[in-house]
Subunit: 363 residues, 4 copies
Amino acid sequence: MKQEKGYSVRTDLALEAHEMNVKNDPSSSDSDGVEVLEKEVHDIKTTYVTVDQAGAERIGKKAGHYITLESQAIRKQDTELQVNLAKVVSGQLRKVLSDSGIKESDRCLIVGLGNHLVTPDALGPLVTEKVLVTSHLFELQPETVQEGYRPVSAVTPGVMGLTGIETSDMVHGIIEETKPDFVIVIDALASRSINRINATIQLSDTGIHPGSGVGNKRKEISKETYGIPVISIGVPTVVDAVTITSDTIDYVLKHFGREWKEKDSPSQALSPALNPFERKTLTEEDHPTDEQSQAVLGMFGQLEEAEKKQLIKEVLTPLGHNLMVTPKEVDTFINDMAHVIASGINGALHPGVEDGEAQSYSR
Amino acid sequence: MKQEKGYSVRTDLALEAHEMNVKNDPSSSDSDGVEVLEKEVHDIKTTYVTVDQAGAERIGKKAGHYITLESQAIRKQDTELQVNLAKVVSGQLRKVLSDSGIKESDRCLIVGLGNHLVTPDALGPLVTEKVLVTSHLFELQPETVQEGYRPVSAVTPGVMGLTGIETSDMVHGIIEETKPDFVIVIDALASRSINRINATIQLSDTGIHPGSGVGNKRKEISKETYGIPVISIGVPTVVDAVTITSDTIDYVLKHFGREWKEKDSPSQALSPALNPFERKTLTEEDHPTDEQSQAVLGMFGQLEEAEKKQLIKEVLTPLGHNLMVTPKEVDTFINDMAHVIASGINGALHPGVEDGEAQSYSR
Amino acid sequence: MKQEKGYSVRTDLALEAHEMNVKNDPSSSDSDGVEVLEKEVHDIKTTYVTVDQAGAERIGKKAGHYITLESQAIRKQDTELQVNLAKVVSGQLRKVLSDSGIKESDRCLIVGLGNHLVTPDALGPLVTEKVLVTSHLFELQPETVQEGYRPVSAVTPGVMGLTGIETSDMVHGIIEETKPDFVIVIDALASRSINRINATIQLSDTGIHPGSGVGNKRKEISKETYGIPVISIGVPTVVDAVTITSDTIDYVLKHFGREWKEKDSPSQALSPALNPFERKTLTEEDHPTDEQSQAVLGMFGQLEEAEKKQLIKEVLTPLGHNLMVTPKEVDTFINDMAHVIASGINGALHPGVEDGEAQSYSR
Amino acid sequence: MKQEKGYSVRTDLALEAHEMNVKNDPSSSDSDGVEVLEKEVHDIKTTYVTVDQAGAERIGKKAGHYITLESQAIRKQDTELQVNLAKVVSGQLRKVLSDSGIKESDRCLIVGLGNHLVTPDALGPLVTEKVLVTSHLFELQPETVQEGYRPVSAVTPGVMGLTGIETSDMVHGIIEETKPDFVIVIDALASRSINRINATIQLSDTGIHPGSGVGNKRKEISKETYGIPVISIGVPTVVDAVTITSDTIDYVLKHFGREWKEKDSPSQALSPALNPFERKTLTEEDHPTDEQSQAVLGMFGQLEEAEKKQLIKEVLTPLGHNLMVTPKEVDTFINDMAHVIASGINGALHPGVEDGEAQSYSR
């Protein structure tokens, strides 16, 4: 792939990897090793992506199952939507556990990756603070543990810059010592797309690669490295200036593409843009033709996404301006997202925690 | 002005307002009411902008004096540079006070604007936490106050969303009650340019307009409203996606412009780009010709800055993607900047605080 | 009074002042200007103390109404009890407002006293962060305000050590400028008794004296100083070593007193001490006779409370050991208490906030 | 020992254990297995306690070396004294390392015990945040590491209530995985004496027992359990009401004891109490005779310390009033102490860090 020499369009989200692949090679389809199913309930869009070995090679993501939840609950600071989102996280996580052959009594280790001193990277540590921890009760006061709970531990290994230790090594040492039956690992991700920040949650049975998004040679946290199932929960919380620019230019192109199409269309009067209460969306189909792209954006408009990003990166990086940024409301967003995920985990791990109460179990 | 109907290119920085004006109307010059002086010492660039009444109308900034300090001390997390920057803040602030007719014994009220719960907006509250406060000692234990100190108070009025009260009204009430001789007000600003975030400090004798950058109808904090000198210290800490994209596109154009020029130039061998230790910079002179701009960026490349921003804004806003963002390292950046500014204020207000010690007086 | 020359047994709680008075002069009774009513519902003990002018002189508290709520909800970290406590705060506060002639549409200013950087003193600032603020909506977007809400503002004036300004002056300036109809002021108090820390809430229509507990000459915040009703909410959060010691010695005496009585009593078999599930309590009636006191504690056992405290203070203070302390769990206790009080205030001020929902309105 | 059945007078400080032993059995002396050396420089008192096997049995502390530093630097919030204290920590720690046979290039693991959410227990986590961490640089970028530095890692294992995992197990897992040559472990302790809170630092080569002070059955962190040297740094940050009362009663007795003695002494005119600038201290020699004790404090005055504490505990505990408390200024005290210890560790571990600069290396 061209981009290998240039800007890495690598993404932690399988859904994005698949979409990029389809975009670059429109002839490819689900039958080529990637299966995609979508549903949308109560403003939450859920996408199931299943990747087999062939698909893994094509889209550059490990074979396995990926579930992507998309919701504006956090960015809209809508408490009711957040309660619903937590329930969906809970339900989907329960399904992932069950599909991974994990039993109701299996012992869980929750690992919150990230740096608690850097707010947009503090999601993992905040989730471990908020989940219901029970292992020590099973060990020391088994008589106090009610039906419907399982042994759960939670650790916050920190980041290598603060500990001096490879994160995956630290987790390995803890697993070797405490012998859990499976691991749930939570991490903040770099986003490949401006619209996913704090708006997407990916559950997967493939584990994760800490820091992989930013070019570090850290080691994998997965079933392959630890020998037990590793379920990952990832949320994009930061994005770089290259991505913001590239995304925006893409939106500009689609904007013109749609305008040109609508000019020829009698339905313009019903265009969503005229309804002030409905948020406009632009889709791949709005992309203009190559000629139109060139007219609007010249040579730049004709570049592939990867080429475009590579060019922007080459310009911004030596200037010191390829900042990694996060929304201004980062303190609230990260705290709310941690609450949603912790509630979801509590509900999924302990049948004794009713869906309706999962929230209040989250500290 | 065209932009009045569209994207506000209004900026809190007089230097930027002046640059935009010159760019849009290259025939205008300093003699038209704006006087600009520059100097650079120890990696800190200081620009003095003096605006008279005629200039005020031309560039849309109040008549008065503006001093802009530019430094990478915070973004590079370089402690030594930060100590130097604090000394420069101190020296320049002392000059502004003296030019405003403020005497060494005059009583000062420091006002830290912003929301302490939103990290990129917490600069003002953090500075008031860190400055040296003495008014109560002058009042209650005058015998304990040494030579070289003046009465200083410091308040954090909060933001209207948390207090329910117009910030300028709250400050007015406190001034009426405590009768200071002058005010220093600190605020985090929205930046108009990606390279200024946490890298620019503006001192001014014109006061400020809380929230003016984001279209709120809050009232002015200035000599006109309070009847006493109001010195403002502002630092850009956030930027929106429109600005990031527009800035980046501009860098791309200049990048090509420079490349084209250098192709014809024998001096290419000495180009800074070849020195890996020197950060590349691009200047206005690198802008390509109109034909070149069109080739590279089509129709888009020929838009004025304001038009370009207006277009991008029209596309991003209905999508919900014109995020206001801040660098990922926001926690460290804001804390370090608050320390620099508090040290600078301590040194400027109290001759008894030696430059070398101003740092340690900042809590 | 003896204690005037010695250890101040002054207390911010009227209930304590009354109890001390009765203890020192058992012949005094309610009919002498202090009326006391008690009730206990759901583990929350509510005491109404009404002080008239004669009573004010006798117990050293301003004439007015005082409501004391006693509950272990915070110290036991019992969420359910805390929800109940918030409802009781809400109901009692509603009564105080109504008795003070405050109408449902009257405009409220909430003042959170204390230092947000000192956790046990951060109760006031935390409450102002958590209450529902609406004044700006009534002013700027009146169409968005539903029935059942009133205009409420909230400010955090800080402490004189951080601002350099007398707190009551700052509040006065804000009141002059914003003209509220009444004030609710929240403050953390020094406790006179170990068992009240984070376990007592006092509502009163007499206002409060910031810092009065620690001998500072700060000014009053009350109807007398501001001309509008000032409702105060106070919670003891710290205690000094003198008080801990004095209280404990008192408990030791009562412990022996009870033991001696029980020796002669056939009911010993039913003594609460034998029921391990019931927390023991000791009452004034358990106090031993003077002879017994001397046998147990010598000369010390015969001192009046004020003399005892004065002696302990004379010994500890020059040693630097009269520490002001707070329970180890201070972070949780203060945060939970702020949540309870903010929920109570929201429910009392806005009929539109249902009791059941008041909690979720607290941020 | 009597106290075994009653109030545990067990202490984490060897110096205290020794003092208690001498007090209970005045015939015992250093030659019986405990060697004590004292020196005082610049307001910092340093005591070296060496315990051999015989001494270990007598005082109930493990055989080994204990260094106790006593200073008011933190409680007086005196920055200059704190800088000096950090230098003394550094020097003494260097000595302990050298005496333990640790070489300059040996790899260190720093373990910060405690709960970062409970301020008085957050000392360990704060120190690990502040120390200079280098292991990853030695591993990944060895060319960037200068002379005078050694590989140092730092972990914050958390507390069992938050992780569900026995702390010593977690540390064991990390040691097994990362194979350091020695460990430095930092912990906040419960104090046995009101005057030690935030005023004493104990260095030791015997390791520590997490939570041992509060009766938990956690496992030891020591050379015996891990097979490599474990240096411990402990600071008393909390104290219970029993101790405060018992200490205070003891001070009262000594106060009277001294007064009686001084009455008969011609030197009264030179008594320190007359010098208002010198803080009074009371010593063991001030204790009154048994008859005097009985006169002052009756039966109570004649109890042994352990009996007294046991009695107070029996009275307070069933009442729910044996609170564990910390000074009101806990936020500042813990942060300053963490800074002092982190600076001391940096200076001791890395000869490349000059004493004068150790402070600025602490983040």
